[in-house]
Each structure stands twice: as C-alpha cells, then as structure tokens.
C-alpha cells in the first residue's frame, strides 16, 4: 500500500491568512466598458433561472447558443417565440419551424409569464454577456501563493527559550556563588563558552542540581515521546490530493447544495456514500464550465482558475462517459478513484444514519465547515476520546420518537435528570461500537 505524508494544517492556515490579506489588498475590481449593470444583472438572473438549463451563451446545449441572438433575429419574432413558440410554429412561421426541425423537434418551454421588459433584459444580457473584471486580483493571488512562511511551532520554541533562559539564570547564579566563594578572580571577562563550562561543572558538583536536572530532562523527554506516540494514527487535518479538484466550497457553500443531495445514503445507511457519477451529472450535464471568476485554492498554494476548473469538469464527463460536444453518453465509463479522507479502523462500527436521522446532527458537527473548504480535510481527530466526550455531553434527541418514550422515562427517573445523555442511555458501552 502506498503512503503519503500528511499535510499539516497549521502550516497551511498560516499561508492562507497571508494569502487572504494579499488578495484583499489587491482586489480592486474595475469594469471594462460602459454597460448598464442593473439591466445586465436582471437579465442574467432571469437567464440563469429560466433559460440556463437548455441554453448557453457561447455553446450549443439542448438549444442553440444565445450569444448575439438579437443580431440574428428580429426582436418581435424573438418575443413571440419566447412567449409561446408552439403557437408561433402553428401559425406557420417558416423560421420557427426551421429551428424546430433543426433541433429534432424538441419542444421549448413556453414562457407566457414574461413581460416584454423581462425579455428585453434577457436579450440585453445575451448581447453584453458577462462583465469582465480586470485580472489584477488573480495576479495578486499568484504572488501571494509564492510567499511561503513556515509556521513556527511556537509553543515548542517558547518552551525552548524558557529553558535556555532558566539555564542562563542558573548559570549566572552559580557564577555569582563562585565569585562570592572566591573561587574565580572577580572582574575577569567571561564569554558564553566559559559560562556554560562553569554551569556544567557546577551541576556536576551539586547533587541537588544533578537530580533536579535529570528529572527535568526526563520530564521533557517524556513530554515529547508521549506527544508523538499519542499522535500516531490520529489523522486530524489529513488532506489527501484528490483525483478531481472538487470544491465543497463551491457546491455546498456558494451554491448551497444540501449535503445529503449528494451524500444521500447518510440518512439511510452506515456510510454517507461518495456520490456516484450519475449524481454529478444531474447538474453537470448542463454545467460544463465554471464562471470566469471562479477560483479554487488548493492547500499547497496552487490556485485553479477557470481554465483548469473546466478541465476538472471534463474529468467528470470522462468518468460518466458523456460526450459534451454531441451531448450523449458514449457508454465508455471510468469510475473515479477518490481518496478516502475519513478512515475509521475496522474494529469500530460507526453508523451515519444513527447520527443524522435519529440524532439529528448537522454534518458540520463532525466534518467541520465543509462549506468553506476548497479542498476537504479531516476536521475532527476521530479518536475514541473525541467520540466519548460528545456522547457524555449530548442529550438524547427525543423529538417525536416513539422508540425513546418508555426507556427515557425510566432512565430519567433513575438518573434524576430531565433529559438523559447518550452515555446514560448506554452510548458509552464498548459493545455499542466495537463488534
């Protein structure tokens, strides 16, 4: 089995904050032309909500590309077509019927609810398109990305400094003692090397100091040994590189897709399930590219812009066997090999549905702010202590659950509480998770 080193969260957090600062400083956006921004915005909104599932500006989807459609067709004809294309075709309009035949007789939805103003706004949007931003922000990011500042494990350094200071203090004390004893001629110039030598000699001579420093060294040693040992197998912050630069931030954060839309088995099963590619295709059949200003920041400082991200979507198409040009499935699929982020040992039984459906927990409780993560990492330590702590504190969610009715009443009486915790219900028993 292959092994990879773990990214350290502390390092990346530091880089990130600096990056954000830089981005903030440089992101002064400027618009290119004099465009009626309000109209464009209104038009874009309507376009996205009504038209985008079948049309794109620059590419054929289910219907034709609409960029510059105003130049190709009469405004009145367009209005008639959009409001009710079937009627227009029925009236024997040659253009309408030609279009209909060109697209193999697929019906376009009628939009009688749209006012002329609405349609004009949409058409305005198709003409002016997206408003381009000046690329300075992206440059700033690129610069920031290269600025690397290793995060000091400050605690350790402070400790080390404290130790050095303590030794120096002892050294100076010893020196003074020696001087007072008259062992060394006063007024002699001293350098650090000599100080240290004197310290060493002093410690060697003084039994109390010998014992004290041995104990001290042992304690420091134990601190580091135990610190290391207890971290073995705890992969908090584990952030493997995934085959596709999938961003939870874009999906769950920006677009507010419900976690369980994709991880649908979390409410039914022990596993939350990595969504099958056909779930991706529910949306990505129509979303073949990201908007121009979409950015995904990876942990190693790499920033992916539109060009790279569109290639990532193409990877989904390849997996699903979707021919984006001819808009059809080829049948040649290749499943995506994701790297698992959350790994529990085999001897632990964990069930998502118990926590999601029965307990009513938010996914974020254990998985952290996934909606802010461009690249997913393991938020919680997933250690047994971490599980147990939560079981000890959390009160059982009784809402409308007949199962708990009697057992809770009895237990509440036994423990003399209003609402029992999961541990009191038996959630601390070994056999509940280990079988």
């Amino acid at each position: 089995m292959k092994s990879v080193g773990l990214h350290s969260r502390l390092n990346t957090l530091f880089i990130k904050s600096i990056t954000v600062l830089f981005v903030f400083a440089f992101s002064i956006s400027a618009y290119s032309q004099d465009v009626d921004e309000a109209r464009q915005k209104e038009g874009k909104k309507l376009f996205k909500s009504l038209c985008a599932s079948c049309h794109k500006l620059d590419k054929k989807l289910i219907g034709p590309a609409l960029s510059g459609v105003e130049e190709r067709r009469e405004n009145d004809w367009l209005k008639a077509w959009i409001k009710n294309n079937a009627e227009l075709r029925a009236s024997g309009d040659a253009q309408a019927n030609a279009i209909f035949d060109e697209y193999n007789g697929s019906n376009m939805t009628a939009f009688p609810q749209l006012s002329d103003q609405n349609i004009d706004d949409i058409l305005y949007y198709t003409t002016v398109g997206e408003i381009k931003k000046v690329a300075s922000a992206a440059e700033g990011v690129a610069v920031a990305g290269e600025t690397s500042g290793g995060a000091p494990e400050w605690l350790i350094y402070i400790l080390a400094a404290a130790i050095v200071v303590a030794f120096l203090m002892i050294a100076s004390l010893l020196k003074q003692v020696n001087e007072l004893k008259g062992n060394v001629a006063a007024g002699e110039t001293s350098d650090i090397k000599r100080d240290l030598h004197e310290l060493w000699v002093g410690v060697k001579q003084n039994t109390f100091l010998k014992v004290l420093s041995t104990i001290f060294l042992l304690l420091v040693g134990a601190y580091f040994v135990f610190g290391t040992i207890f971290k073995v197998g705890v992969d908090e912050g584990y952030q493997p590189i995934q085959p596709i630069a999938f961003s939870h931030k874009i999906h769950a954060g920006d677009n507010k897709i419900d976690c369980q839309y994709c991880h649908s088995s979390a409410k039914h099963s022990k596993t939350s399930g990595i969504p099958s590619v056909n779930v991706c295709m529910n949306c990505h059949k129509n979303i073949s590219e990201v908007s121009d200003d979409t950015v995904v920041e990876l942990e190693d400082g790499l920033v992916l812009g539109k060009e790279q991200l569109d290639l990532e979507i193409a990877k989904v198409y390849k997996a699903a066997g979707w021919d984006a040009d001819n808009l059809e499935y080829t049948g040649e699929t290749s499943p995506i090999k994701w790297t698992r982020v959350h790994n529990l040992p085999d001897f632990v039984y964990f069930n998502h549905s118990q926590h999601v459906t029965v307990g009513g927990l938010e996914c974020q409780k254990c998985h952290g702010p996934v909606e802010e993560m461009d690249e997913l990492y393991q938020y919680s330590p997933l250690t047994m202590g971490w599980c147990i702590d939560c079981h000890k504190e959390t009160k059982v969610n009784l809402k409308g659950n007949e199962y708990y009715a009697k057992i809770h009443e009895d237990l509440a009486k036994k423990y003399n509480v209003d609402q029992v915790t999961i541990a009191q219900l038996g959630g601390k028993e070994c056999g509940k998770c280990h079988y």
Binding site: S3, L6, T333, T339, E402, Y403, D410, G426, G431, H434
Partner: protein
C-alpha cells in the same frame, strides 16, 4: 430420574483414563509451546544468531515499526458510475430464491450487501428450511479454485459461439445417423427445465434424459411407481404422527431431503402430546440420536425385522427369520395398530422391495401420515437407467454424452467403466458449475452459473412452486444450462423470458409474476389426487426377494451414510463444511469407519487420547466385491455389532488444495447405489491416523447437571422442583455448613435489568436435533475463521457456537455403585456395556452472556464488559490476550486467535483469497491475532433492529429481535428476544417450568436459558 444418569462425551472417559482426568482439569488442552521458539540449549548454541544480533534485530524492527506506524495507509473509494436504484451502500437487500444443487433443496432468503450474497436464511413464509449445507452454499459460490471460468474445448479456451457451432454440428450429425446421445443430470426438480429438456428431445429424438443422484434413493421412487404409478418419493407428515417406526431411515438427516421441521412440530411437550419414535438402525444416525427409543440392529436383521413387523401387523405369513429384536418388533406392531392411521413406518434401505413392504404396512395401517398425493421430487435418480448408460457407453452403443453438474467418475462405484466409456464417445460435453474429474475428462466444458447467479423454478413438493432469481452478477463467463439447451433446440427465447411465460401461463393461474418472484414461491391450491392404481405388486414375491437379498454371509455389513456436513460431497471444497464437526462423533475434516465397541475390542482397534486432547485411530483395510479401501476406525457407541458405517462424500481430490484433500472416498464400494453392502472383510493395517475431533477436549469435568432430561410422563405428573423426584430441581450449595438454594447467595451485586431491552436466548433441548445449521449461520454472520484440521486437532477450533453431544446411560452414580458394593472398575464396565446403545442429547453451547460473568471480573484491561441489554461485550481492540477470561469461564466458550487467520498463506481458506473474502459480513470485524473472541449474541443484529425502529420512530416490535442462530433454526428450538417486552415469546419461556440455566449453582445468571429435554418413553 435425571439424577441417576451418567453423562459422558467419549469412550475414553468410561475407561477412567488418567489423560481424560488431566484434561478435565486443564483449561487449554495444550501446553503453550515455548520450546518451539526458545528451543533447547544445544539449538541455541548452534544458532548463528548471537545475542548482539538479536538486539540489533529488535532495535531495527522497533524503529521500523514505529516509523511505519506514523503514516496511515491511503485508502481509495470508488463509487458507482451509475448507482442502481435499489442499492443503498451499507444497507442489506434480501432476495427470495431457491436452492437446488441436485442434493439440497430449499426455499430461502438471501442477504446481499453491495451486490454480494453473504448469507442464506430459510424463507419461512414458504415453510422453507435450511440445513448446514444450504447455509454454507453461499461460500461455494465464491469457490475460486473449483468454479469454471471460461468455456473450453480439450483444455483450451473457446468462445461460446464456436462451442455452440461445433457442438450443434456434431449433434445434428449424430441425429442424422440416429446414434443415441444421453443427457445426464442430477435431480433438478424444475418444471420449466423439464419442459426445455422435453423440447430438446423433440428436436433431437436420439437424446435420452437420464437422472443420476450420487446418493441414490431409487428404491423408494421405484416402489412408488410400482404401487401408485408415479415415480416420485412419498411425503411424510410426521407432525400429525402418534407412532413413528423407522428402519434405518435418517429422516432428520438426508432421507427424502429431511423431515425435521414436521417431526419436531409433533413433539412439543406443552401440548401434552408427543409422537413416540422408535428407530431400528445399525449406524448411530442423527435420527437415532433423537429417537425416544433406539433399537440397535444390523442391516440384515433390519430386513427381517421389517418383514416380521409386516407379518405382525397384517397377520400374513411371508417368509422371514427370527431376529434378536423380535420382542421390540412385536411391541411396535401393537403400538402401530393402536395408533392406526396416526402410525407410520419408514425404511431407509435403498431397495425397492423393502420400500414396497413399508408402503404396504402403511397401507394396512391406513396411515394418513404418509402422503402419496403431495409427493416429493427431490430425488429422481434412476439406478437402472444409470446402469444401462454405463453398459451402453462401454459397449460403444451410446455416441454422445451431455452431462450437467454431475461427477460420475468420482461418485460411481464402477467409475473406471464410465471413464473408459467416456473416451469412446464421439461427443462429450460437460456443463458444470465446478471443475471435477468428469469435467476434466469431457471434450467440451461449458461453465454454468451457481444457483445464486441463476434464474429458475423449483417444485420440491406438489404444492409449493418456488422461483429462483440471481442475487449477484455472474462472476465468470457462464451460461445457464437452460439457455444452452434452448439455443441448441434452435429456440431464440432467452431462458428468463421462457421462464416468465412458462410460469404465468401454466402455474400462476392469473396471479402476478412479480409478486411470486418477490415472495420466492407460489402455493398451488389444487393437487392432483392419485387414482388408486390397480397395484400389480405381489407381496409374497416381494418379501421373498427381500429376504433373499439379506442372505447371511460371513463378514461385516457395511452401511453407508451421509453426514450433515458434506452430504454427497458436492460441496467438499467448502471449508466451513469441512470444519463443521459431525454431530455424533464431533470429528471434523474426516470420514472414518464407525465400529462398535465390542467389535473394535475383538479386532484390536482403539482410539487413544493424546495428551493434547486429540484422538488417534488405527487404519483398517476393508474389502467388498473385490474392491478395497483403507480407512481410519472411529469407535462409535451405539453401532450395531457386526456392522460398520462409512460416510460418503469425502476423499475428493481433483482440483483441491492439499489441505482440503481429506477423508477417504467410499463411493467405490457403493455398488449399484445400495446403501448396504454385505460380506465385508476388515483387516487391521499399520499406521496411526490423527483425527481432528473435539469430543474429549472439552470434558464435562464431573458436572453432570449440565443436562436435564425427563420423560413426558414425569413432565406431566411430577412437580419439577420436588426435592426427591423433581426433574428441574434448583441447585443447592453449602453455606455456613447448611444446604441452601444457590440463588440465595451471590458473589456479585445485582444489576438493574428493568430498563430498556434485556436480551435472552432460549434453547429447547427437546426441539434441538443437533443438525448444525446454526453453527454455519454463525460462521457466516460473524466472520468466524476456518482454522484447518491440525488446529482443530489441538483444540483451537474457533466456532463461537458448538453443539455438544452427550451420551448417557441409565446406570448408577458413584454413590449408588458404592452402596451396591460395585468396585470402580465394575461400575465402568457396567457403563461400557450400556455404551453399546447410549442415549444421546445435544446441547448447543455458546457464550452464556452471564449477568454475573466470571470472565468480566478477571480481565485485567476491562476488554470484556457487560452491557445494559444483557450482552457480554468483547472489545477486541482492547484485549491484550492474557486469556484469563477463558480460564475463568465455566462454559469453555471463549476462543483465542492463536494466529491471523485472514490473509495468511498458512491458513489458505476463504479468508485468503479475493473471491472467498466476498462472503465476509462488512458489519463485523475480522479479528486479528492475539485476541480473545466469542459469541456476541449477534449484537450487530440487535443494534440494527434497534436502529431501524429508531429511524422509523417506533418501539421495537414483538419478536422482532433475532440472532443468526435463532433465525437459522429449522425446528424453532432457539428463540431469541427481549424479556423486558412481556409480549415476546422468550419472556414466557424464561418463566417456563422447563427453563434452567446451565451450572446454575455457580449463580452466573446466564442470559441463555435451556429448556429441559423431554422424551416420550411411552409410559401411561
């Protein structure tokens, strides 16, 4: 009456052997082999590894291990591209289907996880039952070594198109020249397949269909044909029977597919009525072990006893002979007459004449227990046709053979005739799921799917029409036999469509196909009633022929039998079944010659117990009709003197790994499908056989109240707690020099058990037949590893659930023997005489989940602890392997992982290959080396039931809780549930007057409760 029985587990115990004495005191039968790795001084001195080297190695490995541990392995997750709608990862799907492999037939439910079948359970709606073999057949699906993967011609891979073309040409050529071709299959019991075969025969009139069962019951079918004009097996409704007399019919084993469910329905003491079952037999069978009275009689005498019974009942006077058991026969004749239509006689002799006599007796009794209308189709083999086929092949008359899932070269007595004949054929095609010798000798090999990958229908009896549906995508490049035959008959229909239209038009009578498929069966309402055919059978002829067949000859009488584990040997490569101990001898991984104690003494055979608890055996060369085999001898209490027994189905080697090549093939002696062979000579030959037998390893150490048995009369009339005659007396212990009831004093504090669920498993010893389906169900559910013959031999078997078998004899206890002035030696001699026919009791034994568990008290790391729901929990990741718990367990149910049994070439069984691992239950961990494990009371199942209720926001339903063993139990002996739900069946069972806890004087308060065994001694 229970008190003056002595229970014992092996013949050696009766000899008062010092080894057994020592073993009973040892917790682990074998010393920890420190010498093996420490060695002696000499070895150490010769070793090239110095102390410094050793330290270097230690240093390096420690450093390497700690470095390696710092980084976790990278695990990949590969989701579906398009997820099927009915699959939710992590949630099991159940499918109703049928099992039909030619020997085992059952309506079952199959549990699948992520598209893989992982467990088989009985389809209780269809009255389905599962045996150990049916349970284990899910593992045979994943048999990497034996499953055929590609079509082949003369050993070279060939495409299906080419194979079809070439075979089609040859078939047509043979048709034109009108040369006979035989289609040789086992029993399929499939109406649609029968139709396809008859269509195939219409297309190729030169084809003849011959049905061949390796273990034949041809005699019974022929008798039905002669008497009722239908070549089927009669059905027996033993649930309604009052008196059952069986002559060697192992009807709780494989006789006609088994009747254990019906038999036990008629034996519920609560109803106040139990059938009275008397077994006349020579081998100790499962049926004999469960009988009310077992009469030991060798096969030739069984024949005359049957004739004498016929004479006694009908008053006729057919020629017979006096036997030693005539008194019992006479008694049974009057019992049967008294029972009238509620009486029934069965015989296991595979002889048409014996079967005719038994049918005639049942006719004379006007028995309504035997059913000749709703008959059975599970053994259709025809010995006469098979004999004709072989002579035809030998003489060159037959030109072609198409075989399907049969292996005559292994199973025929005259297999050399068959394999020589096979070479003369112009066309030999083997359609088979598994590789075997016949497949290897055939020219064309066409792989067929396992029944868990197939479509199909079944008709085991006349009422239940079962359907078979695939539960997994075909693993290999296979095609169903039905598709092949349809193709060769120039029929372009797919078998699935054919089956669907066949079922809808001729069976379902308007009901929905989808419903039938969902349920897995369809109950027909109308059965054809057999017109009483004018029988041409002349009983006097039949009787004299029968009497002649048993003509006395010198030498032993050999009685073949099949074991609940291996049956006819079809699944001999299944490690679960090989490791499954025989219910009677408790030996696994072997077959052997069973011999009576006195014969063994005369011939000088013995079964010495080694100091590690394993037993050895001597070899015997047995010969009959010029054929001889060498087998180890196992002394079997209850074996008829002058008779010997041997199990079929062992000794298969072709394509098997070395560790699976166990036992001796007895088929060469099984001439003409006759399960009795006369005139067998036995010669002791040199050599010692090492048995893997667990019977002595766990002795009962003098604790005789483990078992409680009473008679139906006492059950009804005597107070169970009566101080003198009670049959379920509470235990007494000495406290302050006073005798007090054990439950008044306790070492432990009482827990509060009122809140939430409190699980309990009730085991009815009256209903348990010892069949062992639960053992295999436990294997499948809990990922119990297979450890192999050598490990079982030294007492390291891993079965979480074992079925203890106790022999008992109605003799004096030590105290009474003293009173009678018997010396110790005399007492054991008396016992040994009794041991010629002991009573047998089975007791499933698993972790008793004591509320006051001795194991929990001694664990230094608290790895085993008690749950509020009553389960004794074992946290494997916490266990450090001190084994104190096992040492302190009075029930000896804890199992220690001496090795890693998964991914270990030393244990090359199913957990060591990718196919075999597909059967593992993903909800249960595979334990690693150095930890203790044991029955968890299927905590993964109880937790899943609770979670289901929680998700649906309801309380758990009555009787919703199940364990693997309780759901597999055919007879309902095991009942699992929550005693805090007063509606649950188990809540009343724990209060039953038959309920008792094993070793109750220890006050461990187990959550497994046994129900006293009740036998019908036919008194009063």
């Amino acid at each position: 009456m229970a008190s003056n029985k002595k229970y014992w587990k092996s013949v050696e115990e009766l000899k008062d052997s010092p080894i057994v004495e020592t073993l009973s005191k040892n917790e682990f039968v074998e010393e920890i082999p420190t010498d093996e790795f420490l060695g002696d001084k000499e070895t150490l001195e010769n070793s090239s590894t110095s102390r410094r080297d050793f330290l270097k190695y230690v240093g390096f490995t420690t450093a390497a291990a700690s470095l390696a541990a710092c980084e976790g392995p990278v695990r990949k997750s590969i989701p579906y591209v398009v997820k099927p709608d009915d699959v939710t990862l992590g949630v099991a799907d159940w499918y109703a289907t049928s099992v039909a492999d030619g020997y085992d037939f059952a309506n079952v439910l199959v549990k699948t996880r992520e598209g893989r079948p992982i467990q088989i359970m009985p389809n209780k709606e269809a009255d389905g039952t599962t045996s150990a073999r049916v349970q284990a057949s899910v593992l045979s699906l994943y048999d990497q070594e034996l499953r055929l993967k590609e079509p082949a011609k003369a050993g070279k891979v060939i495409s299906w198109e080419d194979a079809d073309k070439e075979i089609g040409l040859k078939l047509n050529e043979l048709k034109e020249s009108n040369k006979p071709v035989v289609l040789l299959t086992g029993t399929m019991a499939s109406p649609s397949t029968d139709k396809i075969i008859s269509d195939f025969i219409v297309a190729y009139p030169n084809v003849k269909h011959v049905i061949y069962d390796a273990v034949s019951e041809s005699g019974a079918a022929d008798a039905m044909l002669a008497m009722y004009g239908k070549r089927v097996l009669p059905n027996y409704h033993l649930d309604r029977a009052k008196t059952i007399v069986s002559f060697g019919a192992d009807f709780l084993g494989d006789f006609h597919g088994g009747f254990e469910k019906q038999f036990i329905v008629g034996r519920k003491p609560e109803t106040g009525k139990m059938s009275y079952h008397v077994q006349f037999e020579s081998n100790m069978s499962l049926t004999g072990a469960n009988s009310d009275k077992r009469v030991v009689v060798k096969p030739s005498d069984q024949v005359f006893a049957l004739l004498n019974l016929y004479n006694a009942i009908t008053g006729s006077n057919v020629p017979s002979k006096a036997t030693a058991v005539d008194a019992d026969v006479k008694k049974m004749a009057s019992e049967l007459k008294k029972a009238g239509s509620k009486g029934v006689v069965l015989t296991g002799l595979n002889d048409v004449n014996a079967q005719l006599i038994s049918l005639e007796i049942n006719k004379a009794l006007n028995s309504e227990i035997i059913d000749v209308n709703n008959t059975l189709n599970v053994r259709q083999g025809n010995d006469k046709d098979v004999a004709e086929l072989i002579s035809g092949m030998k003489s060159g008359k037959i030109a072609g053979l198409i075989s399907y899932n049969v292996d005559p070269i292994y199973t025929l007595a005259n297999s050399t005739d068959f394999s020589e004949g096979l070479k003369k054929l112009q066309l030999s095609v083997a359609l088979s799921t598994e590789n075997n010798e016949t497949v290897n000798a055939s020219n064309y090999v066409l792989p067929t799917p396992h029944f868990l990958e197939s479509w199909g229908d079944t008709q085991f009896d006349e009422v239940t029409y079962g359907l078979m549906q695939p539960t997994i995508q075909p693993l290999f490049n296979t095609r169903q036999v039905q598709d092949t035959l349809l193709k060769w008959s120039e029929n372009t229909t797919k078998y699935y469509d054919y089956l669907k239209s066949f079922a809808t038009t001729s069976v379902l009578t308007g009901s929905s196909w989808n419903t039938a498929l969902h349920n897995g069966f369809f109950k027909k309402e109308v059965i054809e009633v057999v017109e009483s055919v004018e029988s041409t059978v002349v009983i006097s002829d039949v009787a004299s022929k029968l009497a002649a067949s048993a003509k006395k000859s010198s030498g032993f009488e050999l009685n073949f039998y099949t074991k609940p584990g291996l049956g006819d040997g079809k699944q001999a490569n299944n490690p679960w079944l090989q490791e499954f101990p025989d219910p009677i001898t408790r030996a696994s991984w072997d077959n052997y010659l069973t011999m009576s104690i006195s014969d063994a003494r005369e011939l000088g055979f013995s079964n010495p117990v080694k100091d590690n608890g394993a037993i050895d055996g001597d070899y015997a060369k047995i010969s009959v009709n010029g054929k001889e085999i060498t087998v180890p001898v196992m002394i079997q209490p209850g074996q008829a003197k002058g008779s010997i027994g041997i199990a079929l189905g062992y000794g298969r080697t072709f394509g098997f790994k070395k560790e699976m090549q166990v036992g001796v093939n007895a088929y060469p002696l099984y001439a003409n499908g006759n399960n009795i062979q006369y005139g067998v000579s036995i010669e002791k030959v040199s050599g010692t056989h090492k048995f893997a037998c667990t019977q002595v390893q766990k002795t009962i150490a003098g604790r005789h109240d483990i078992l409680k048995v009473t008679s139906l009369k006492d059950y009804k009339t005597v107070d169970p707690k009566d101080h003198h005659h009670g049959w379920n007396k509470p235990a007494y212990v000495s406290y302050d020099h006073n005798e007090v009831e054990a439950n008044t004093i306790d070492l432990w504090d009482e827990h509060n058990r009122e809140i939430g669920h409190h699980f309990n498993l009730s085991i009815d010893l009256t209903s348990c037949t010892g069949c062992g389906a639960c053992v295999i169900a436990c294997h499948a559910e809990n990922n119990v590893p297979v450890v192999g013959k050598n490990e079982v031999r030294v007492g390291r078997d891993m079965h979480w659930l074992r079925i203890d078998r106790y022999y008992s004899s109605e003799v004096e206890t030590r105290e009474e023997a003293k009173e009678l002035g018997l010396s110790r030696g005399d007492m054991y001699l008396a016992l040994e005489t009794e041991a010629e026919n002991p009573e047998v009791t089975f007791q499933p034994m698993m972790c008793q989940h004591c509320n006051h568990a001795p194991c929990e008290t001694v664990c230094p790391v608290a790895a085993t602890s008690h749950g509020r729901q009553g389960q004794n929990q074992m946290a494997y990741n916490r266990c450090v392997g001190t084994r104190y718990c096992a040492n302190n367990c009075p029930y000896r149910v804890r199992r220690f992982n001496w090795f890693n049994y998964a991914n270990n070439n030393e244990f090359d069984f199913n957990m060591n290959n990718d196919y075999g691992k597909m059967v593992l239950n993903p909800d249960v961990v595979v334990r690693s080396r150095g930890v203790m494990e044991k029955c968890s009371m299927c905590i993964q199942m109880t937790q899943a039931t609770i979670l289901k209720a929680k998700k649906e926001g309801r309380a758990v339903n009555t009787d919703e809780f199940e364990t693997a063993c309780s759901s597999a139990c055919t007879t309902g002996a095991m009942v699992f549930g929550d005693i805090n739900n007063k509606e649950d069946k188990v809540a009343s069972l724990i209060e039953d007057k038959r309920a008792y806890g094993v070793l109750d004087y220890l006050q461990t308060k187990p959550n497994v409760i046994y129900q006293v065994k009740v036998k019908n001694t036919n008194e009063g």
